[in-house]
């Protein structure tokens, strides 16, 4: 349990990829925190792509879609890509309903 807490909301840069471990509940409240931190990394590190890891995420609403779309807009103008990994069926459904599959590589 302790370890999971540490992992949540963790950011790391690996080979020009910003890895973002998404929180357990990705709503408007948590989304603003992720957005600010991700943008800090995008500004200060050598990053061209973003990988959102949904392994621990059990809930996401339209605020999560906004966060992903926003980061996509930032990195795509420099040819960067956005990935969503470890997405469960529910999260995939919500992403597809928003048309995110057209701009983001969504993986299970």
């Amino acid at each position: 349990m302790e370890e999971r807490k540490m992992m949540e909301g963790t950011f790391a840069v690996l080979d020009r990829h910003l890895m973002v471990k998404m929180p357990r509940e990705l709503d408007h409240h948590n989304a603003s925190r992720i957005r600010e931190k991700a943008d800090y990394f995008l500004l200060t590190d050598d990053v061209d792509s973003v990988v959102f890891d949904f392994e621990d995420t059990v809930f996401m609403d339209s605020s999560g879609i906004g966060v992903i779309m926003g980061r996509y807009k930032k990195v795509s103008c420099f040819g960067g890509k956005v990935y969503a990994i470890h997405t469960n069926e529910r999260i995939k459904k919500i992403m597809n309903m928003s048309g995110l599959q057209n701009i983001v590589e969504i993986m299970s």
């Binding site: 957005r35 809930f59 609403d61 339209s62 928003s98």
Partner: protein, 160 residues
Amino acid sequence: MEEKEVKDSMLKETNEMELLFDAISENEGFARVAVAAFITGLNPTLEEVSDVKTAISEAVTNAVIHGYGGIQNGEEGKNKIRLHCSLFENTLRISVEDKGVGIEDIHKAMEPLFTTKPELERSGMGFAFMEAFMDDVQVYSVVGEGTRVVMEKTLGKDCE
């Protein structure tokens, strides 16, 4: 904010709850959990619980961000959101009400991808998700007075 009262007379209300809470983002999670707990007696499927939680989250977030513009304290004290849930046998009715700015063009507001706050990275999918995950969504709003979203979902449809 006119309401349809027809359905009430047809179906008997079996349970009811009401919550009044501050319009702050912390309470979005609280509202989801409270409603999920309220419907456990109906033995909803995991998907049904997720559907309801998503819809609640969207409605409450809208009230926080759009209704009150993210402002915690209004002229008449703290900005509040009223969440009312009632069960008519296995049909859940949720009402989320704020006393915020109101919506000028409800039809426009409900269009997928339409948002008045792109600077906050709102995706414009809030109402679309509410409509997708609930059986019925009605929006009543008066500019300068507030907005009330009433959603209905019949649970246990898959088990019949």
